[in-house]
Symmetry: C2
Subunit: 527 residues, 2 copies
């Protein structure tokens, strides 16, 4: 049941005076429930509860925390169709997507549970004492990863489940041993509250401390700003716009005690189409890319917003085919009137730039809040000279840059801002002729794809979802996959510490049977 209240730890609370409702973009009406924005007192209470909970939660074993994460996953499944219906009503996304995203969310929770139950992720590193070493004895040193403290997670508009309340950021932070306060996304506050109730229920059932999780509603930016400024908060996770992510990064950097912010922000995900591939497969590529540009109404972080090629008949054929194919696709509903409003505005701003040519723009009638997909083309020279053309148009929109030659292509790639992904479309041997283009692209992205589409982000250890700024605020971390836990931990060393007081991960006997590095040798053996 949706109450519209905040979870301050295990307690529902609604002391604030600001209220708001979510919106059903498909029906173009407000949803029924009223949500109460968290008050300053509620924010403080959640932060201090998290700080207290940290001390206890930090002491829970990997197995105990894994039980908690698995219980969250179970409880999300138990929410059943209620969750799916609210998800669809608050996002305009279809039921299949809702169920797929729920599966991903549950899969992420279980993957982190498996990781921490096994336990080797803490990177236990031991260097044994050498009391007789000359000229100085060597001490016994043992290091492992420990949690940073309470973390604030900002839910993403475009993933109401997989990157929101119990999404990858929350799952990785809870797995790391950090209490989490979610700043719920106002567009899907009901979905958020249902998932929060599943987390709270799991926390209570598995004996986790009150405050290990809180869910705060907010319509505007104030709640988030106060959370990031709060001295009890030790790290921040965010998925969203460059403006929003950078604002939080700036606030965090200006604190008396700066804290790390991992913000996964905008990306236009450049795709380089090499000439032979275009000559041989322009039509097929056009079909594939028409699909990738419009999937989820273009609302994926990895949406291909920039396609680049060297002028040729192949490129012309590709543009023509893409233009034909993309308008065949049925427009879909965007997440919110504000998002479609921004899409239409940004699309128009792009189209109005000098030198832009509209190759395709869906012209037929569309249902309310449905996006008209579009493709534009531009000369390489124009693109180079106008950095305004590098801006993301969040939605089913892509720009084809037509370059004079490989040199101009390389120059464009070198001047791109940081991106989540870069894609090369190439025949098998063709790519070897473009080493400088490839090197330039690698320098600008976090993940590079051969003959595919950037949409579709596999959740696995080898995934990198992040990239040079502004794709993310710290390219040294990833938001997707089990390695994302590294954002929330720090190494901690024990010197000559008594064995019985060491955490189990570092005890001589290796009671958890985890993999450790002892005197540079990786082993499960005890000492």
């Amino acid at each position: 049941m949706i109450t519209g209240k905040n979870y301050i730890g295990n307690r529902l609370s609604a002391n604030g005076s600001i209220t708001y409702k979510t919106f059903n973009p498909k029906l173009n009406i407000e949803n029924e429930f009223e949500f109460y924005e968290a008050s300053v007192e509620e924010i403080n209470e959640a932060a201090f509860l998290a700080s207290d909970a940290y001390i206890t939660y930090n002491q829970k074993s990997g197995k105990e925390k894994a039980t908690f994460l698995n219980a969250i996953a179970d409880n999300i499944i138990d929410l059943g169709d209620d969750l799916i219906q609210v998800y669809c009503a608050e996002s305009g996304l279809p039921e299949g997507r809702a169920k797929g995203e729920r599966g991903r969310t549950i899969g992420q929770l279980r993957a982190f549970a498996t990781l921490i139950e096994e336990g080797s992720w803490v990177d236990a590193t031991i260097d044994m004492a050498q009391p007789n070493r000359e000229p100085m004895p060597k001490v016994d040193l043992r290091k492992m990863q420990v949690p940073l403290g309470p973390v604030v997670i900002f839910g993403a508009s475009n993933f109401p489940l997989a990157f929101s309340t119990a999404g990858g950021d929350t799952a990785s932070a809870l797995a790391a041993g950090c209490p989490v306060i979610v700043k719920s996304h106002p567009m899907h506050a009901g979905t958020g509250e249902l998932v929060a109730s599943a987390i709270i229920k799991a926390a209570e059932a598995t004996g986790m401390p009150n405050g290990v999780f809180s869910n705060l509603n907010s319509k505007g930016i104030e709640v988030g700003v106060q959370l990031v400024k709060h001295s009890a908060i030790k790290a921040v996770g965010f998925t969203g716009s460059i403006t929003g992510g950078r604002a939080l990064f700036d606030i965090a950097a200006q604190r008396d005690e700066p804290i790390p912010v991992f913000a996964e922000m905008g990306s236009i995900n450049p795709v380089i189409m090499l000439p032979q591939a275009l000559q041989n497969r322009a039509t097929d590529l056009a079909k594939t890319y028409a699909g990738s540009i419009t999937v989820g109404s273009g609302q994926f972080c990895t949406n291909p917003g920039l396609l680049m090629g060297i002028k040729s008949d192949g490129l012309t054929n590709f543009v023509n085919s893409l233009s034909e194919e993309i308008v065949k696709i049925e427009p879909s509903c965007m997440l919110h009137p504000n998002i479609i409003g921004a899409y239409e505005k940004n699309k128009q701003t792009a189209i109005d730039q000098a030198g832009l040519i509209v190759a395709a723009d869906y012209g037929a009638e569309v249902s309310v809040n449905h996006a008209r997909q579009a493709v534009v083309t531009v000369e390489g020279k124009t693109f180079l000279e106008n950095s305004g053309l590098h801006q993301e148009v969040f939605g089913p929109f892509s720009m084809v840059v037509q370059c004079e030659d490989a040199k101009e292509l390389q120059q464009i790639v070198s001047n791109l801002e940081g991106q989540l992904t870069g894609t090369i479309i190439s025949e098998a041997d063709e790519i070897a002729n473009y080493p400088h283009v490839i090197a330039a692209l690698q320098n600008r992205v976090g993940r590079i794809i051969f003959n595919g589409v950037p949409t579709g982000v596999e959740v696995c250890p080898s995934m990198q979802h992040g990239g040079p700024y502004p794709a993310s605020t710290d390219s040294r971390f990833t938001a997707v996959g089990t390695h994302s836990i590294k954002r929330w931990v720090r190494p901690f060393s024990y010197q000559n510490w008594p064995d019985k007081l060491l955490p189990n991960e570092l005890k001589n006997s290796n009671p958890l049977s985890i993999v450790r590095v002892i005197d540079n040798e990786r082993t499960k053996k005890g000492i």
Copy 2:
């Protein structure tokens, strides 16, 4: 031979008009050589050279980079007594310390050479394709660490070799594949130039690109500020004061493209002395700590500036013994008149605080620029109420906080700023009675020590040298040990990339025979 010029890549250059000399604090005279501060043009040239060098250097194999690092170590040894003499003349530190630090510097370079020659440090992680997976095929994904780009390193005043020109920061960045620009510390510019010449000679001999290393002189802060602001620079390493480190952190965070700064800054390295230990060993502890407080004239990052205990006869005995012991120690020369000036001023500021009692202050005549060590005491309540007393007094100075009880002790520890280290002095079973004090201490430090002194930082994989702010600007990294390489790299994923175009670390055949994680299994096997 010292020229006083900057190394802009392999070229000596002195276009600037600002000059300065280093100072011999023992003789209290300027040293003979004149150094030319780098001009704006020289800074730009070094930055763009580094940017170009990155593309080539990035492609060098681990073996090639290891040869480079080992050649640097060889060339530093070849500098022979000239280096030791200049080091001593510019620091006032004794020859034994100079040789010890040279040994450590060379050891660090060789440790990183061994690490990258072996190659597994890149964390190669592979998840194989599953083309028949339902409902969606799984792509082939392969991830490894890649260098961030050109790095600026700020030499530390207190480690003219081990944390300066070819010190741990430079060695780890070069090992990672990042070109390095050193902003030479003005107090040991001659030592810096000699070591820079060893690096440049090594770069030329081992075929490294021009610009892989530059060494820029500067008297003030301008050169450093310009470097951190430069768009070609992708990360910063710093060891020094909180003021200096925070200023650079702020500049880096305010760039259009923010870049990571790892600044290792101040720490007062709290030591908690438990009652039974004090009762049984006050005199021995006093001798040990008199040594630790004064070693290197108190100019180590891990100098114990804060000793804490619960009021007892043992604590009184300890304070009395420490006061007797510390004045028996011969005062030593500090690094520079500015440093001893700051020491005397900060010491006096501390002593002037209400409630401070001077327990010991070396009163006899001292040679010029030699520091008079001191110990002061204060009540726990006074310390809690006056955060000015938490400020580091860089030099041979320590404050003993006398607490009413364990609760007050815990409260003090909980309210401390972040620290590099925390130490517990305890009898074997005593520590178990203070779980909350220990938990509070762990939360504030990067390394915790049982029955020892914080001075002495072992260089090994399990060392953590860094800690919660302001001990460092990012507690998730370390400045010492091979793991310090992680500051300068980011994960990079290849999706469905052709085997022959993959870096050797990720090729099917595993030609480097490194350890990789393939489908969650750690193995040296090929695919």
